[in-house]
Amino acid sequence: MNRHSWIPLGCAALCIAVIVPWVALAAAGGGGFDGVVNSIESRYHEHAMRIPLMGLASVVAGVATRGGVDGVHVAEFEHFSAPVDGEELNRLVEEKLGQGWERMIRETSRHGGEQTLIFSHPEGKRMGLFILDLNGVELDVVQVSVDADRLNETIIKYKHHDRDDEHSSN
């Protein structure tokens, strides 16, 4: 084997390094928000209700907050009756969200059917937040991207509006 024959081998190795995790991920229903929701659906045999026109709502939220809140994803499981193992659910979410997401809050109740998971993902000036909350028979999954400075500006603006309204009514 001459020196040049290593080039196609190297390319093949690179392809495997990229393709193997991608195929594994695709086989399990993809990653990110949709990956988590799809995996919960298939694992617990429950169906998620996607909010209609969520994309439009996300754009409106972005405009209303001047980019403070963006990339809103919401899925809701009503009448979620399947028993949940907190450890397994956490593992599922971690695997599907993938690298870069760090768990910030985890509250697990073994008997009460209550699970809360909050993950964060720094995105430059923005922060991605993923929230999963199971409360009794309702499971909500939310993902947003937040620019703290811009959102805070909007919050302060509305606070001032409220104060002005209070003063004028008095």
Binding site: M1, W6, L9, A12, A13, L14, I16, A17, V18, V20, P21, A24, L25, G86, E87, E94, E95, L97, G98, Q99, W101, E102, R103, M104, I105, R106, E107, T108, S109, R110, H111, G112, S120, P122, M127, A148, D149, L151, N152, I155
Partner: protein, 202 residues
Amino acid sequence: MKHRIAAVFLGAAALIAPALAQPSPSPLPLPAPVEKELAARAANVTEVTLGKGMLDFAAKFMDNNDKDQVAVKQLIQGLDGIYVRSYEFDKEGQYSTDQLEQLRQAFGTPEWTPMVHVRESKGGESTDVMMKMVNGEPHGIFVLDAEAKELTIVLILGPIRMDQLSELKGLSGLSKLGDIEKDKHAKDKTDDKGKAAKEGDQ
């Protein structure tokens, strides 16, 4: 021979690639097996992991016109991390003294100074508070509170002002911080009583 090397190389690449895609391990410097064992046995688990990035992010939402929030903002902006683990058990005896010892040993390095060390012979309840000192200044605090059916671990890393610490007790799982001052005063009182008794004996 070269074909074998190539095959090994390809195999290794295929094995390593998915491993690289795994999520990063917990940043909390606790023995991972103990943490897992406790979580597996507990009926309720609360974990809070706030790194520097998230603390800076949270600080941006603090109201500069609110005195309390300004105090919290000042405190958390300088911190490197806040970590809380709270385990509630259905019955007693779900954790061992060995596990507690392993948790304490994780902070047995010279930079960590024991501050409060309370043991109750009845029920085996205990509270440990350790402080990380850097150039004589507190740069971390570790609280381990063990009750019959509950175990709470709090770790705060970064420069800490003790007078502002109780401001954090509103955060999930950090209510134990409000007790630190109380425990410290109780310890001081006990020490004073001990000294007075010794002087009386002499």
